[in-house]
């Protein structure tokens, strides 16, 4: 499995692996029951340490996005559409939180932030 691992990212290697596998599960690219590479083989392919992949898979297990079968490895879990959108919303809220903190640091108030959000969303819709 080829993931896009960047040295320059502000995310750790572990976060990049989690984020990309999660994204591919949520957008359906990795279908339910798809067999993920073993921890050691993914570590070799991405040239990261075994523990990095192990922790990433642990996190995906915690999020119930994947499941493990003893001796067989790791597989993509079956998700309801509702679960997917709830997860996607939760992720969006996290990213938004970081942006909101940055905006507040730059001195913007709640109303200004809200207005900018609405305007940006509208602009994005027009571009699309």
């Amino acid at each position: 499995m080829l993931l896009h691992i960047s040295e320059q990212s502000s995310e750790t290697l572990q976060e990049q692996i989690i984020g990309q596998i999660r994204g591919r599960i949520l957008n359906g690219e990795l279908p339910p029951d798809f067999a993920l590479p073993s921890i050691r083989s993914l570590a070799k392919d991405l040239r990261v340490s075994v523990i990095t992949v192990q922790r990433a898979y642990d996190q995906l297990l915690n999020e119930a996005l994947i499941y493990s079968r003893r001796g067989k490895g790791f597989f993509v879990a079956t998700l309801e559409q509702g679960d997917k959108s709830a997860l996607a919303r939760e992720r969006f809220a996290q990213q938004l939180n970081a942006a909101i903190s940055a905006a507040k640091r730059d001195g913007l108030g709640d109303e200004e932030i809200q207005q900018t959000f609405n305007e940006t969303l509208l602009e994005g819709d027009q571009d699309a």
């Binding site: 050691r40 570590a43 040239r47 340490s49 990095t52 922790r55």
Partner: protein, 292 residues
């Protein structure tokens, strides 16, 4: 599984240990320490080339013995000491070494040499430092040892050879049966490879941590404050330029919680690279880390 039990070796005013360390099969362990911290003595004891004063090492239940040839079968070593004859070609050196190892694979030796772009028909005395290192890598890996002992192994390697070497090490680890000990001053070399980092200082283990735990917990923290608050836990180092303060913490969450209790404003945190964390650990090696 490698087990080092109460290993102790004294040389004049230097003493290693008593040092105990247990490394499971498949683990890549980075060994970091200042010059003279004891890495080489530890490795020589492991190799069986130096006899410890007390304590010892076991690999998969078998005791180290410098007399026993089968012990060397289990270990691949790359470091300062390379047992090559200068007047012989790389190939002839390998053929001679092969006789001492039961599991030597000539085809693997040729494959590794090709990947590392090492000309085996040249005499070793014509080799550059990098090519000597490549020959040592080939010799260490082609008998598929259970334990790889690497002491500054990338010495003299050009960037492409170094990259190939890293790729090869990642492949070695895939089966989960090979244990890797890798000592280096260039922490960026093992930043991706190592599962675990052991910091050595003055012959003792200073810290023994899983790499992911280090990157999860260490933080650089900056905030606004008229003066540095007191009794903040887990601070490793600090500096300030009024009205900003900066801390390095080995437990970012605990440090931030304590700062918030003291109503400190504008707290910002960021992660540290493993290299930066390692430098902080080595710098503060003699200091108590718990409180400022």
């Amino acid at each position: 599984m490698l087990e080092i039990n109460e290993l102790n070796k004294n040389y004049g005013d230097f003493s290693l240990g008593p040092l105990s360390l247990s490394v499971e099969a498949g683990c890549a362990l980075g060994l970091v320490g200042a010059n003279g911290a004891g890495k080489t003595t530890l490795f020589r004891s492991l190799m069986g080339t130096v006899r410890s004063d007390s304590g010892g090492c076991q690999l998969n239940g078998r005791e180290t013995s410098y007399r026993e040839a089968s012990w060397k079968d289990q270990i691949g070593y790359v470091g300062d000491y390379t047992p090559f004859f200068d007047n012989w070609s790389g190939a002839k050196n390998l053929q001679t070494l092969a006789k001492f190892y039961s599991s030597w694979s000539e085809s693997l030796a040729v494959e590794l040499a090709n990947r590392l772009r090492l000309n085996l028909s040249q005499k070793v005395k014509q080799y550059s430092t990098g090519n000597r290192t490549k020959l040592a890598i080939v010799a260490a890996l082609c008998h598929q040892p259970a334990l790889l002992v690497m002491d500054e192994p990338s010495n003299g390697l050009d960037p492409v050879a170094r990259d190939t070497f890293m790729e090869i090490l990642h492949e070695q680890l895939e089966s989960g049966e090979t244990t890797l000990l890798y000592a280096t001053h260039h922490i960026s070399e093992i930043e991706h490879l190592a599962d675990r980092l052991v910091f050595l200082s003055e012959g003792q283990i200073l810290r023994d941590e899983l790499k992911e735990d280090l990157s999860q917990s260490w933080r650089r923290i900056t905030f606004r404050s008229e003066s540095m608050p007191t009794a903040i836990p887990h601070v490793v180092s600090q500096r300030g330029e009024h009205p900003y303060q900066e801390l390095i913490s080995d437990n970012g969450d605990a440090t931030v919680a304590a700062l918030k209790q003291q109503h400190v404003e504008n707290i910002e945190t960021s992660r540290l690279s493993i290299e930066k964390i390692a430098i902080e650990i080595l710098k503060t090696s003699a200091r108590e880390l718990n409180h400022v």
